[in-house]
Amino acid sequence: MTQLIKVWDIPGGVHPPENKAQSLIEPLTPLAIAPQLILPLNQHIGAPAKVLVEVGQQVLGGELLAEADGVFSAHVHAPTSGTVAAIVEHVVPHPSGMTDTCIILDTDGQDSWQPLDEAPDYQNLDKAALLARVRAAGIAGLGGAGFPTAVKLNPRANQPIDTLIINGTECEPYITADDILMQNRADEIIAGTQILSKLLGEPGRVVIGIEDNKPDAIATLREAAKDTRIEVVSFPTKYPSGGEKQLIQILTGREVPAGQIPASIGIVCQNVGTTAAVYRAVRFGEPLVKRITTVVGEALDTQRNVEVLLGTPIRFVLEQHGFNEKKASRLVMGGPMMGFSLPDTSVPLVKTTNCILAPTRKELPPPSPAQACIRCGMCAEACPADLLPQQLFWYAQSEDLEKLEAHNLFDCIECGACSFVCPSHIPLVQYYRAAKGEIRQHRIDKEKSDRSRRRFEFRKERIAKEEAEKEAKRLARKKAAEEAKKKLAEQKAATGDAKTAPAPAPADDEKQRAKLERIVAAAEDSLKQAQKPLEDATDEQREKQQARIKQADVKLKAAQDKLAALGAATSAEPAPTDKAAPAKAAADDPVSAAIERAKAKVAMSPEDKLRSSLESLYKRLAKAEDKAREAREQDSDKADALEQGVSKLKEKIASTQKELDELTPSNVAEPTPRDPSTSDTSGGATADAASNAIEKAKARAAAMSTMSAADKLRNQVDSLEARLEKSRARLSKAEAENDENIDAFKAGVEKLEVKLAATREQLAQQNEQA
């Protein structure tokens, strides 16, 4: 019956040599536990997970090491028991060969596990519970992209799913991990498929698609799926029919619209490995800590499929298979068509590693140098997306980004079919990847420059307004003073108390209103800005955008409310909103008040000054905490930033307090320069670029500290001297010009002098010790 199911053909495609037999000779074997596991926090698309463990902590197998940070993130679990040795930057499997944060786990060989939350009656669980179990297991697509599975299984309500496709295609040469999984664990796949089907509301069609070069897998799965409504469909072998969009086209004849996800046409696609993992997660509560990987290539003594713990260093895997380094031309993670070459063997195996390929030079010879494109059109014939690869190549070469987008560069799935057939050996895919990166960067830059322009224009406007207001105020003050004089004279003549008219109050209200109006305008603007890209954004982005819009909306509403309140207030009495409070204070004679305040400030001892600043800091802290809490409640993405702000404020308070303490007993004004390297690092992973940069600077300072103390001090003295010189020059210049900021310069010079003296003293001490 299944044979009668119609399959469609995809355009293009190629038939590279399959090379699948060699890894299928040996049965699937579990691999030993490596002495050390390296677990990257980002083994999926989306934000890296947040670390939950500390260095030195003992963990059991299955324990949560890092939790998902946001919707598009996934948990990381301990694959076995052991000790957290470090949380450091380590080379990760990524085409860039760069480092990322990883948890290094020293295994103890016991493989003792924490009790798993089994659910023998999983068939009775409801959708939410099932989804929670999938999410808790940290499953990300095992096919290669690493999209968090729980997200995919939770389509939006307006997108009813009518087809569930389980992808057993495995069209890349060499890889047989899915093949052997289907042969060995067909039951798990079928059970997993049923779970997925239930999660998606029992779609009308449930299909498992397999290329016809895996007859054993097809037979086993057909057998296992006998009593279910699951169809097992085989279709002719052709690369890249395993691509999600291509498989959908083959099995349903439908195309996923450009820039959208399959769910938008009612289809969800999952890899067979993922399906099995979902079953294990739901049934046994097993987190995703191991996977089946094909270890293949002529540079190995043994070629087979192994079930291996995530985080196992590739070196360990290779050693187990008799890797001959001299024979290998390169080391590829993934298949020969889309995999990337690894910089060295210390990288770990991750959730998306379906193959480790160690070919010899003869097997996969190094590419010949690229020749000129002869426009033969073979690439266009091979392209499964019906693009014009050579046009894209020309435009990528000339960096004509506009034309690239017009030629639908972003519909390229980077399958490599075009490069494979290119008789001139042009690395086409690399051109497309580079061009895509550049276009993305360009978009970011564009967004930033637009924002900058708005800010700058806003600033200019604000300054112009301020100038105007100052001028108006000055005039008003003048008038008021005259009036007051007149009145005073009158009152002197008549009776006692002078009461000035609260002239500036409306002005202040006016200012308040202007400010609020500006805020409203800005909020409206940002709302508009946020809405604009919404139209052409993809689904994933859309959600984020909507959140942003909501935020902007809320802001706008708040601002409008305030404005309305202010409007009401000014008409009634000038003081209900808290922001209007200073206005009230200023209602008294502003001039004398200001003078008083200034006097008070001058009279303040340094101690008092610190105290007052401490007070203000406390106030700020309270406010910041409030805000952070509010943000947290609203689940806004600003919450983190705000919380950081809070922690920073706390830090500052502590240091001020310390200063104050020091000052109080000795009463000697000795500002202790804080060493930047000693200030504690607040929280490792920070999404904020700002704190990242600061962190870096601190790290640099720390690196400096490895210099001998004396050298460091000497350096410091030198730089201080230079700076002092500069400051003095500036001060003298300022004095000569009778600058109004002389005080600031003086303060700077004094500060530097004190610091220099202190450092010199330290240096002297150091030298003595030496």
Binding site: F456, I463, D739, E740, N741
Partner: protein, 238 residues
């Protein structure tokens, strides 16, 4: 105004840096059409030069009296009259050449190089510089025309200075140099494609020379101070 340095720059512009044929690419129609032999090229070149010089002088003379809005029609009128004069002159003295060049003599009116110089230079400068500019631009154009004509004549028919008597009278009849005996004639060089190819090569040659000169000049020039043109966008900071 009459200093030699200025004249030199004007001359250099016309002959080389702003050559109408090689740099401005103006007046390509006659350049491609009549440069099949040296004599044709020279005839048209001289005619163009005369029109260009005299039109520059005339335009410069009236530049203060003609209003901006009607300047172009006025210039065209002047150029047309001068062209007619030249045409009549050629008809009188070099009739055969006149018949060979045919429509391209009256078409000098539409040579953008002439109107371009009138508008870009003569209408803004006094008479003498304008005259020099016209002469030099015309000379530059003529030289390019001559070079293209010579190359095409050599390639196309294997001779040089054939039929010079059309321009210089009977005495010039035996100026003809036959470079290759029994030359089969490379017809493409005489046909318009040949003109395009030869002009292209000439432009390339000029660019090569310019490039070399620029490189040498760059090597001699000292580095400018970086960032000395900066201004504050945020006003002065006290």
């Amino acid at each position: 105004m009459s200093n030699t340095a200025e004249w030199q720059t004007i001359s250099k512009k016309g002959l080389w840096t702003n050559n109408p044929a090689l740099v401005q690419l103006l007046g390509l129609c006659p350049l491609l059409a009549v440069s099949g032999s040296v004599v044709n090229a020279l005839g048209l070149g001289l005619a163009t030069m005369m029109v260009l010089t005299s039109s520059n002088i005339a335009v410069s003379l009236i530049r203060k009296t003609v209003s901006d809005a009607v300047r172009l029609p006025a210039f065209v009128m002047i150029i047309a009259s001068l062209t007619t004069c030249i045409e009549l002159l050629m008809q009188a003295y070099t009739y055969e050449l006149y018949t060979i060049l045919g429509i391209f003599i009256p078409l000098i009116v539409t040579n953008c190089a002439i109107l371009g110089r009138a508008d870009a230079f003569a209408s803004k400068n006094p008479v003498l510089p304008s005259a020099i500019d016209g002469l030099m631009m015309g000379l530059g154009f003529t030289l390019v025309l001559l070079t293209v004509g010579a190359v095409r004549e050599i390639l196309g028919s294997g001779t040089l200075f054939a039929n010079m008597h059309l321009l210089f009278g009977e005495a010039a009849r035996d100026w003809t140099l036959t470079l290759f005996a029994n030359y089969p004639g490379f017809l493409v060089a005489i046909l318009p494609p040949g003109a395009f190819i030869v002009t292209g090569f000439l432009i390339a040659l000029k660019n090569i020379i310019d490039h070399h000169q620029a490189q040498r000049a760059a090597a001699r020039k000292e580095k400018p101070v970086k960032g000395n043109k900066r201004v504050r966008t945020t006003g002065t900071i006290a």
